[in-house]
Symmetry: C2
Subunit: 191 residues, 2 copies
DNA sequence: GCCGTAGTGACAGTCGTTGACACTACATAT
DNA sequence: ATATGTAGTGTCAACGACTGTCACTACGGC
């Protein structure tokens, strides 16, 4: 009984989240996730490459939004500024997703296998940023360093934001970038 | 016939490298790796947590060397400087390992599952760096940003070094950090 | 020679993952 | 309405990754 495929994925995601919150990822089998979603285990693996992947649906959205945000930025901006502007552009989307993303983040943080997947996804995104900068004429070395640095700074801002959502992600983001400037400027400081 | 455990691990590593270079990681079974090393599959899993882990033995050494290098640096140095000095301290070790590390890097780069593990190991190392900085009195936010930034810059230096080993890793490292300074300084540039 | 520890082999079993084949819902063209 | 293509699905079978258990063996110290 094939409804829409998209709906099946949504039900699988919900089933996976529920089961993982109840028992933890490792104590749940792929067959159970499928069963709760009303499909076969085989069907699960047609929609997702492996048992973990269902929990990372949201990352795709982030990737697309980030790509779209980068499109609209003048190629004459300096590389790190480009990233900062793109990050600020997706802040509303990130803030809107917080409620849904939080339980997921909790499950991922508690499971080594999922943290591993998350690290791989981050690496992918950094690659994406570096490629976007290179496409704008930034040399390969600067693009890579800027992408890693920019992403790392965003990640830290998001971490603080999760602990203190009241201030707003944008404030945390600007604060983190200011911190970055100080840290790098200090590289040549004499005691 | 239990020789030393340590020797078994070494033989398993060599067997894994050989087989992966011949056929690629995915086309090799854990049982085959064990067999070529002269032990049982079950014994393999006593020494390594999973099929991938054997290929990341070297990372442990890197972690230890980095920890040791950080010990010897005055806590009054600014955070990013601390990391740069630590990185330069382990340059000889990295250069000495290049011959052994290269085929491994090739296998890892060609296999998504291994790239994933590599990303996780990187995240671990960044955590380690951040913790080291915090232990020296650096505030949590600066420590995290500096760790991610510093590691990212080292990673880029190592990438360039792999393409151009003649110049020496240390030269690439200093160059990358200079590049970082320019990129961050440019954040406020007006076109 | 005795003993504790670390390392090992041999099974058996669970779970993740994949290939092959046949079948069904839905959209669209006719 | 009927035909037909496409996407989604169920079933079955199999391979390989991993784990628990039990009994056995090398080796160092006593």
């Amino acid at each position: 009984m094939p409804r829409s495929g998209k709906e099946a994925r949504a039900r699988l995601l919900q089933a996976a989240i529920d089961l993982c919150l109840e028992r933890g990822f490792d104590a749940v089998t792929a067959a159970e996730i499928a069963e709760r979603a009303g499909v076969t285990e085989r069907t699960y693996f047609r929609h997702f490459a492996d048992k973990r992947e269902v929990l990372f649906e949201g990352e795709n959205q982030l990737r697309e939004q980030l790509t779209a945000a980068l499109e609209g930025i003048s190629a004459t901006e300096p590389p790190l500024k480009t990233l900062l502007v793109a990050f600020r552009a997706i802040v509303p989307m990130l803030e809107g997703n917080r409620a849904k993303a939080q339980p997921l983040a909790q499950v991922i943080a508690a499971t080594p296998a999922l943290r591993e997947r998350a690290a791989a996804k981050e690496a992918h995104l950094v690659d994406l940023l570096a490629r976007a900068l290179r496409d704008r004429g930034v040399d390969e070395e600067s693009a890579t360093i800027a992408a890693r640095t920019g992403w790392g700074t965003l990640a830290q801002a998001m971490r603080r934001w999760h602990l203190d959502p009241g201030a707003g992600l944008d404030a945390h983001l600007q604060r983190a970038f200011r911190q970055l400037q100080m840290i790098v400027a200090d590289l040549d400081r004499r005691d």
